[in-house]
Symmetry: none
Subunit: 215 residues, 4 copies
DNA sequence: CATGAATGAGTCTTCATTCAT
DNA sequence: CATGAATGAAGACTCATTCAT
């Protein structure tokens, strides 16, 4: 009809296109959650056709899974090693803090992994499973170490502690994202750490000083 | 054709019909999760037509929301009052136990409320919001009482404690439902109660005896 | 825009609707072959939406399979019993004649069964398999009877004879439908019967009179 | 970026490239059948881009048609002349044997020609039409010769005989490829030849000795 | 000139919702 | 009133073909 800007078929290197698709998908996932991510919209926002997505990804599910993997890799990519010489309390706090800050950044993604991918029959063969396992394993390992060295009591299972930590992190984050209450990552990390640490500390064990940051 | 009295299709009173639809929906929700509840199947299992559902409910979402409300009402309907003379620890344990056992009974419903309804823009105007608030308020009230009476410290927000409790409950339940690990409501209730109670107990406050049930 | 005939949502009893869909599909299958039958066109020709098709059929494949079954049932529905006292030749001719006339009526359907369904992994569990088997079994049975009673030689396998008969029938029909050459069902039936009968007749066995119809 | 000589991607002469594409397509056609030949995979296996295929072929259909032509040419390329002095029976047997062995080698190709190309509106103007005609003509010619020299009766049309021969060949081959029953080219060739020859032999004509090979 | 990224018109399938009977 | 046949707007995924580089 008119002299529209010729709709120039954009042409990108595969890597860039893949990055773009994943970035857009990640954004969409954040906005709407897994079930509501629609391939047509991903294509739209990228300014490409749906077919192009399927050039690079076998299925919607695969696309979403790769987005999740990438996210996990970002998390895990940072400082794998704990601060040397730090005590249980400080190391626990660091892990909680990390979890909080990442989940806060990408709550929908975390929900996708937690609720959708985990239910997938083939979840255990997915790369994301291993990545996720590695992340949660850090906390489990720490808790087990605390128990086996006599710092923590043994009357509550590590499994349950981990659930309280991750559950607490998620609930806190989601509530915040729904606009309920204020939210300071530092404060929440301190709170969770305090409750777990004090609640599990073996009577008589040397209590590490609580930094009481942000209080 | 003729005046057959075959029409066994019971002509239920509206209230009974509504109850039946909701009961079936609840069952379906338990089996398959929100996204997979299909109106056609609800009608089928009720032995009625799809149209009839829409006589009583404006939309699928409304139906589901009312089912959730009903569920909450059941939870709240029971023993509103705490056991007389019980201490903080015991009352906390009871609430946690209750939360665990209900979520375990209706995990899909709880997930629906937690994940779907809460994101609804009009959530705050829904009856379910008020009901949910009332349930969580019981724990909040208890925690606040503990703080204000000097039993609990004041260095961790009640909000965060509540998140750890509910988050812990949920994670534990979901993990169990995915087939990960064993699950005893008693044990989990004890564990969560212990961690919160011991972790928050004001130094010097009288420690209630831990029943250590199921240990 | 104009006073179009209100596009009245047509409403049919399920049986009629199913019949209509199957009739249209059968027609389409005749015109274009299986791979080119498109659900949208079926719906179009019925004046309904695609969704309606899926109310009655689980999938395109099932629709096609049922169409094929119906066709086979028509074939098999007629005179199951051979003419009493007829000889091999006459009975053979009748079967060949029947095959020719039906395949001629529905060549695409026959092709669908022969080429598509048969390759289906679950073909052997399909009703159509049993129906098809029953039809071909009639010819096999007849041929075996001829061999075992000493009317036919035993130096050519029944399997191969059957292939020549059905193959001949099909080729003759398809060629005709492509407009190649003239085609008389009687003549073709006589021809095929003659070749098989004379070619297989045991030297010395009593030759039945050839009716030489259509010669 | 730089002057890397890596470009191993052989720069083939157009003829060689065309040959390669056709060879790969033929292979794919054999494996999957016409409808399932995908241009992307052809390109892939050739190690070239999809675009290149369209440099040499106007469309997928044209590519497939040329592949079929090539195949026919191979068949026809061999020993056009019948063995000198051979009788009708032996010459018939040779042609049948040849048809069987070629169809068995390339059943998908034969099906493609038989079922897809033949239905094409422009089939009669295609080169493949002429080639196919030439192949079938050899059998027709032989049969006509048999009839006109009084070796064969005249009461069954040559057209129908040819259909029985080719139909029998195809059915036998397909059944075998579906895994039904054993299959010996020699035996099948003998069987078909026997039936046709004995079935058509003029009473009183000199019967050629049946070699009874493979019996 | 070959490339290969991109297209877009399909193709089957699903399901909440409507409305004529 | 209740019914249930029908809808239609999506949705995921496919693939022969094109064209800017």
């Amino acid at each position: 009809m008119s002299s529209e800007p010729v709709r120039t078929r954009s042409r990108l290197a595969p890597d860039e296109r893949i990055s773009e698709i994943m970035a857009v998908t990640r954004q969409l996932l954040s906005e709407k959650g897994y079930q509501n991510v629609v391939t047509a919209e991903v294509a739209d926002r990228c300014g490409i056709s749906e077919g192009t997505i399927y050039k690079y990804f076998d299925s919607k599910r695969e696309l979403l899974a790769r987005v999740a993997e990438e996210w996990f890799e970002e998390i895990l990519g940072t400082d794998e090693s704990p601060p040397p010489g730090a005590g249980i309390r400080e190391r626990l706090r660091q892990l909680v803090w990390k979890g909080l800050s990442f989940i806060r950044q990408e709550p929908s993604l975390s929900r996708f992994v937690l609720m959708e991918l985990r239910s997938d029959p083939s979840y255990r063969t997915m790369r994301i499973y291993e990545l996720n396992r590695r992340f949660t394993a850090r906390i489990s390992d720490l808790l087990e170490e605390a128990v086996s060295t006599g710092v923590f009591r043994a009357d509550v299972s590590v499994r349950l502690l981990r659930d309280m930590i991750f559950g607490g992190i998620e609930h806190r984050t989601w509530a915040y994202l729904r606009g309920e209450g204020d939210f300071s990552v530092d404060e929440a990390a301190d709170g969770i750490t305090n409750v777990i640490y004090r609640g599990m500390l073996m009577p008589g064990a040397a209590n590490e000083d609580a930094p009481q940051r942000g209080a």
